[in-house]
């Protein structure tokens, strides 16, 4: 299978990038697709707390750690690399990937690339789409509307939203529903993968004693997200790239 990088990022903070990354890792595991993850929230990491065995914390601004991510794409047994980009670093990371020639290699078919651009409910988030457009063109670009913090989105005119989206050819929209706040808090505190929380296990694999109700909310929420990933055929997209190669 051809190595593929799935970049998950936003320039605005607090839009739920790491949560999205967690749902992707859970989904890929549930669908039998091995993945590794890079947490660019150097030095402590955020994603690593939930997926310690899959995740390495890197400083994506340094050449050494850029090499850790990109140089190992062909040598790693695991072909799917999920990169959780820290807040405010999406554009700079895309520029870096351009400068080191990564996108050239994508164009020549050596690697594949997908971008999950997580947007929040404000116009500022929308304006990011314009900034990302030069780097998103030609690649699989997903605008991820994450309702995790808000129940409404873009309360202003929807045509303005569409006009931003139309700037990126073939952009696909993903909707991530809101999760109940208490469930959100509890699942964060548990510090385990989402599926582990639902299964009522702790970090040692023992009984987690989590609330039945909150696990139910997380289960329902994750099922809805899996439905979205099914809709865009996420695993097929990754596999199809390999077939197309």
């Amino acid at each position: 299978m051809k190595p593929v990088v799935l970049l998950i990022g936003a320039d605005k903070g607090g839009v739920g990038k790491t949560t999205i990354a967690r749902t992707v890792l859970d989904y890929l595991a549930a669908n039998g697709t091995p993945a590794r993850a890079f947490d660019t929230e150097f030095p402590r990491g955020t994603l690593k707390r939930f997926h310690p065995n899959l995740t390495e914390v890197v400083d994506i601004t340094t050449a050494a750690d850029q090499m850790k991510v990109l140089d190992t794409l062909t040598t790693s047994d695991v072909k799917v690399s999920v990169v959780d980009v820290r807040a405010g670093a999406l554009l700079s990371t895309l520029k870096t990937f351009t400068e080191v020639g990564f996108f050239d290699l994508v164009r020549t078919g050596e690697f594949n690339f997908m971008l999950f651009h997580v947007v929040g409910p404000s116009v500022a988030s929308l304006e990011e789409i314009g900034d990302i457009t030069p780097y998103a063109g030609g690649h699989q670009y997903f605008v991820v509307k994450n309702f995790i913090n808000e129940t409404s989105f873009f309360d202003w005119h929807p045509e303005i939203y569409r006009s931003y989206l139309e700037k990126v050819k073939d952009a696909v929209q993903l909707n991530i529903p809101k999760l109940n706040e208490m469930a959100c808090e509890q699942v964060d505190l548990a510090g385990v993968p989402l599926s582990t929380f639902i299964a009522n296990k702790d970090t040692r694999g023992e009984n987690g004693d989590y609330s039945l109700v909150l696990r139910g909310y997380v289960r329902t929420w994750l099922n809805q997200i899996s439905g979205e990933y099914d809709r865009i055929r996420l695993v097929d997209q990754l596999a199809r790239q390999a077939i197309a190669a």
Partner: protein, 248 residues
């Protein structure tokens, strides 16, 4: 294998169908049997069950997540206590959505708790339709159709409806004995504990004074009614191993 405990879920589509009365009878039956049941009143407004069991019943507002957690986490708790939930008609949909979304049935069974739905249809067609939908959507949960004789039979056109006929033919069934007016009045006294009443001697001639102020005739009538409903509870619960879905 440890003894399985019940979670009796008493529900109906509309109010004034006898839910709280049945929940009360179940609670008092378990108390008289030496249990200390968990009692939940989901009517945060009227609090009918809580007024009958002021020290024991917990009021739950299903609009509040913490209360949802208190209810379902306790209902599924591994313990020998019986549980009774009086599901207000106002929160019927919310309750069963939560039951579905939390995968409550398998969680409860993994802890030796058996949920059972006691559904009371009234005289309206939609109550039969709702009951049939509920039964079919929770086909892995034992479902007991409760006939409340006090409500009377529905009109003949309703008796032709498929949902009515389906619930009419359903087994197992629970028959709430007919109430006469005197008994209705006596039962409206929130201070009257059915379990304590049944423990009391019948006549005033003994050394123990009888505080409830009921006439001798009414005490006899009420005692007969309570005895019948307790007998019915015993009959239905003793036969639980034959229920469809029980222990699945």
């Amino acid at each position: 294998m440890s003894e399985v405990s019940f979670a009796a879920i008493v529900a109906s589509l509309h109010g004034r169908s006898g839910k709280t009365l049945l929940a009360r009878a179940l609670g008092d039956y378990f108390i008289l049997s030496g249990q200390k049941p968990y009692l939940f009143d989901t009517d945060a407004v009227e609090r009918g069950l809580q007024m009958l069991f002021p020290r024991d019943a917990i009021v739950i507002d299903l609009a509040i997540v913490r209360d949802q957690m208190l209810l379902f986490d306790t209902l599924a708790e591994r313990s020998p206590q019986m549980r009774v939930v009086d599901v207000t008609h106002r929160s019927l949909t919310k309750f069963f959505e939560l039951m579905r979304d939390t995968d409550f049935m398998s969680e409860a069974r993994s802890r030796d708790v058996e949920p059972v739905i006691f559904y009371i249809p009234d005289r309206k067609i939609d109550s039969f339709q709702a009951g049939m939908i509920l039964r079919d959507n929770f086909s892995d949960c034992p479902f007991v159709v409760v006939e409340n004789a006090f409500l009377g039979e529905p009109k003949s056109n309703i008796r032709q409806d498929r949902a009515y006929r389906s619930l009419k033919a359903h087994q197992p069934r629970f028959v709430m004995p007919k109430l006469d007016n005197g008994v209705v009045d006596a039962l409206e006294d929130c201070a009257l504990s059915l379990s304590n009443f049944m423990r009391q001697p019948m006549s005033r001639d003994g050394e123990v004074p009888i505080p409830d102020g009921l006439s001798c005739d009414l005490r006899i009538t009420l005692r007969a009614w309570v005895f019948k409903i307790f007998q019915e509870i015993h009959r239905v619960t003793a036969a639980r191993h034959s229920w469809k879905g029980y222990g699945s």
